[in-house]
């Protein structure tokens, strides 16, 4: 059964250490104890995994209230991690018996655990160390020789295994089985030889291997990248948000001497729970790349000449002065990247629209650059568990959207949400999907047409008519798209297509996750229109837990749309052509805004080639790498007279720049990002900026000041205040109101 989105849990009365309290029925005792700050030590229990009761660390004494009011105590202590709360439960966590039991459990664990804490990377933040300090014996009675096993065995590219330290809690084994789904780790051998390892001692290959490092309660699984880099007391920890994809995982950035040494997951029950993917955890190192741009530079022939920030701004103003005389705003265009903060994106479009008088601004580098008028995503993480069917279309979900993949898998495993995947290649969703449609690459439109044809046949005519008023027209349009035709076009067998259509037709709600193959299709406009039709025909357009989501890929790609970094949209999806909306912004900015919609990315690049756009402002983007047709981007950059590239490091695009401006990566300034589910989350400055780098929004604000003579915002919070005043959806995102877990827009 899918998990209902707005269900009120049934409460039961329990008592812990004499404190009566009400908790949802079935909540585990170890969780309920946290409500009264009764500290129960744990090793094998993990909040986001099924309990197993292996380590016996969480023993408590338990009794039940009898009808006559007396309490009947269980004869032996119980593991609180496997005990669901029911009416009348009474627990004691600090009795003499429990204190003795905990000491004994720890003494047993320490028999085989080496005392090499001083060189262990977990030392100082180790649950075994902490629990021994608080609950364990102060001295050891063990004088025999300890067991010796391999140290620092490289389990995978990122993870090292120290078998001596393992206490066999099974967290890592359960993680790969329950959460990541690759089931790579298992317990080998028995008794004192038990060890977690891959079958056949092969390499541990998983997209989520980094999580086992964090959940290991000892230093048995440690990070190879972080090995001996720092101790917990050497580092400063700051809250941040991952920038490797649009999933918006909350992280902690741990830095030492101005350098980030590792990223750890920060719990956010609405987003990543406590998980991260390896890309976010280990591959996010660009802020310390050797090719960081550290000061503004102008091109002089083949050389780069260092400039001061003031001279750099002056150069831009001179160019604009000359341009504004001849061509005006039509000759200026801007391209924004996906790692800019919301504040930076807002300031960029304000600068281009207000100061440079142009609407030529975009952030999209896929083939789909259509004129959206509403958010392309309808759902949030929780909906994955509430929907009855998840349809993954054209996306290698585990790779493109790792956290969405984990949630989808959890929804399937725990709540029985059915899943259908359509992707040309083998992919991780197939492991639990009810059906897999492996179509011929490029035939996405044919597959959707065939599916719609079959659905029109299957759905009751009046329902189809009610959901889709132009159903008859659609029927006529898809007259030839029979299952046989579809099989011929896509290679998907007729029976599979019929079974899938049957499942979709019967599902009370369906959530569509459309990935890169849809948005980067040569006929992307048509594919996306067909997806919208499918969404409407099945009635999911109007459902809360169902809907269509065109998944963004960049960290703040969604924010760029929300904040009007699009040729036809002002912030908050207000059309540029709408005079009333324009007037609102004109009044706030005290400057007129051009009334025609501008050019999209492709249009801008073509205009560069034809010499119409003479000044291109590329902020945090790398069109040569990101654009679907790199040669077009390259030729356009070459043709454009004056290219400003504002980036963290020397990208491919930066080589074509006439002026280079250094900016901060996300660890060096503060701001907010918008994730795929339109959740705005804050990140903070983890370490000071390198060189002369400045935050993007600050560069735009300083240019705005020089061009408009208006007081600039002094910090990112002020920019957000300005956004919130103009765009009602951003009202809950003011910094003083935006909580730990962020807020969803709209």
């Amino acid at each position: 059964m899918p998990k209902p989105k707005h269900a009120e849990p049934k409460l039961v009365n329990i008592e812990i250490n004499g404190v009566p309290l009400q908790v949802p029925e079935g909540e585990l005792l170890v969780e309920a104890a946290k409500r009264v700050q009764a500290d129960i030590p744990i090793f094998c229990y993990h909040k986001y995994m099924a309990p197993v009761g292996m380590c016996r660390m969480c023993l408590v004494e338990v009794g039940y209230k009898q009808p006559d009011g007396s309490v009947r105590k269980m004869p032996k202590p119980q593991a609180s991690c496997t005990l669901p709360c029911t009416e009348g439960l009474v627990a004691w966590t600090e009795t003499e018996q429990i204190i003795k039991d905990r000491r004994a459990v720890l003494e047993f664990l320490l028999i085989n655990h080496p005392l090499d804490c001083p060189i262990c990377d977990r030392g100082g933040e180790c649950p075994l160390q902490n629990n021994t300090q608080f609950y364990g014996p102060s001295t050891s009675r063990y004088i025999e020789i300890k067991r010796h096993l391999p140290k620092a065995f490289p389990l995978s590219k990122y993870v090292a295994l120290d078998l001596e330290r393992c206490i066999q809690c099974g967290r890592c084994v359960r993680f790969t089985e329950e959460v990541s789904g690759d089931a790579q780790l298992a317990f080998l051998f028995r008794g004192a030889q038990t060890q977690p390892h891959t079958f056949q001692l092969t390499e541990f290959t998983s997209r989520f291997s980094g999580n086992v490092i964090e959940i290991c309660p000892v230093g048995a699984l440690t990070s190879r990248a972080y090995r001996f880099r720092a101790r917990p007391w050497d580092i400063t920890t700051q809250k941040t948000v991952c920038t490797m994809c649009s999933n918006g995982c909350t992280l902690y950035a741990d830095s030492r001497s101005g350098k980030v040494v590792r990223f750890n997951a920060r719990e956010n029950p609405e987003v990543n729970e406590t998980w991260t993917c390896d890309r976010g955890k280990f591959e996010q190192t660009y802020m310390h790349a050797p090719d960081r741009i550290l000061q503004p530079m102008a091109r002089r022939g083949k050389e780069w000449e260092p400039l001061s920030w003031g001279d750099a701004y002056e150069l831009i103003l001179q160019r604009w002065g000359a341009l504004s005389q001849q061509a005006g705003g039509r000759a200026v265009a801007g391209l924004a990247g996906h790692r800019l903060s919301n504040e930076s994106l807002y300031m960029l479009q304000k600068l281009l629209r207000g100061a440079f008088q142009t609407n030529h601004i975009d952030h999209r580098f896929t083939r789909y650059q259509g004129a959206l008028i509403e958010p392309p995503v309808q759902n949030e993480y929780r909906d994955l568990e509430a929907a009855s069917l998840v349809f993954v279309f054209g996306s290698d979900l585990a790779d493109e959207q790792p956290m969405v993949f984990l949630r989808t898998r959890k929804a399937n495993r725990r709540y029985g949400v059915a899943c259908i995947v359509a992707y040309p290649l083998e992919n991780a969703v197939e492991e639990f999907a009810a059906h897999s449609l492996r179509y011929r690459a490029g035939s996405e439109d044919a597959l959707l047409k065939g599916l719609l044809y079959t659905l029109l046949d299957m759905l009751p005519a009046e329902q189809a008519q009610a959901n889709l008023p132009d159903a008859a027209w659609l029927r006529a349009r898809l007259a030839d798209c029979t299952p046989a035709w579809t099989q011929d076009q896509t290679g998907v067998p007729t029976e599979t297509l019929l079974a899938v259509a049957r499942q979709i037709a019967d599902a009370p709600s369906m959530l569509i996750l459309a990935g890169e193959k849809a948005c980067d299709h040569p006929r992307a406009e048509e594919v996306i229109e067909l997806l919208h039709t499918l969404n409407r025909l099945t009635g999911n357009q109007a459902r809360e837990e169902g809907g269509l989501n065109l998944m963004p890929t960049g960290a703040n790609q969604q924010g760029a749309l929300e904040l009007g970094v699009a040729p036809h949209l002002l912030p908050g999806y207000a059309p540029v052509g709408d005079a009333a909306a324009r007037e609102r912004f004109e009044q706030a900015w005290r400057v007129p805004i051009p009334r025609e919609a501008g050019l999209s990315t492709d249009g801008i690049l073509q205009a560069c080639l034809q010499g119409e756009v003479q000044m291109l402002y590329v902020a945090g983007a790398d069109p040569v790498r990101e654009h679907y047709e790199p040669s077009l981007a390259e030729r356009a950059l070459r043709a454009c007279e004056f290219v400003i590239v504002q980036d963290v490091r020397m990208t491919e695009t930066a080589r074509y720049a006439d002026l280079l401006l250094p900016t901060c990566p996300f660890t060096e300034y503060e701001g907010t990002f918008t994730s795929w589910e339109r959740r705005v989350q804050r990140f903070w400055q983890a370490h000071p900026p390198q060189g002369e780098a400045k935050a993007d929004w600050q560069v735009f604000a300083e240019l705005w000041l020089r061009m408009q003579r208006q007081a600039p915002p002094f910090n990112a919070g002020e920019v957000m205040r300005e956004i919130a005043a103009l765009v009602p959806a951003f009202e809950p995102c003011r910094y003083d109101a935006l909580g730990e877990y962020g807020a969803r827009l709209g």
Binding site: D116, P118, I119, G123, G124, K151, A152, R227, F228, R229, A230, R231, W233, D234
Partner: protein, 156 residues
């Protein structure tokens, strides 16, 4: 006024004390030609010790840095390999620096050290001319390699 009681007696009493001290062994030494022996537990400049086989005792665990109340110790650890071994076990200190200007010579680092690698010894002549020269690096702190017996014999 009684000359004897009020003048001669006190003066001779005072001079007796002077004479007694005059005859005692002298405490003052003519530094730097002469140096006084330090107490056994004197806490001056740190020394990083070695084992008898020449391996460093320090394992780069940073516990000294954690215990330091003024945070004057910086430790950067690295991994020993069989080709390049500095200390027994997996870990050694690649960089070990103490800011002697900031250090208050409290000896907490010595207490915290799990291998007895860092000790505060009697080298008290720490004056220097630049601030930078007060950053004691690992090379400066480390005990010199013990001269092997046969080498010592040969030198004799």
């Amino acid at each position: 006024m009684n000359i004897i009681r009020d003048v001669i007696k006190p003066i001779s009493k005072g001079l007796t004390i002077t004479m007694r001290h005059f005859l005692e062994p002298k405490d003052t030494v003519s530094y730097p030609e002469q140096r006084k022996e330090q107490f056994a537990r004197t806490r001056w400049r740190h020394v990083l010790l070695r084992y008898e086989n020449g391996l460093e005792r320090c394992i780069g665990c940073s516990l000294c840095a954690g215990a330091c109340p003024v945070r004057c110790i910086y430790v950067e650890a690295a991994e020993n390999t069989d080709e390049e071994r500095y200390s027994p076990g997996e870990r050694y200190a690649k960089r070990y620096e103490i800011n002697l200007l900031r250090c208050i010579y409290c000896g907490y680092c010595q207490d915290a050290c799990p291998t007895g690698a860092i000790v505060l010894r009697e080298d008290y002549e720490l004056a220097d001319y630049t601030r930078e020269s007060f950053i004691a690096t690992k090379e400066m702190l480390l005990e010199p390699l013990p001269v092997r017996d046969e080498v010592a014999e040969a030198v004799k």
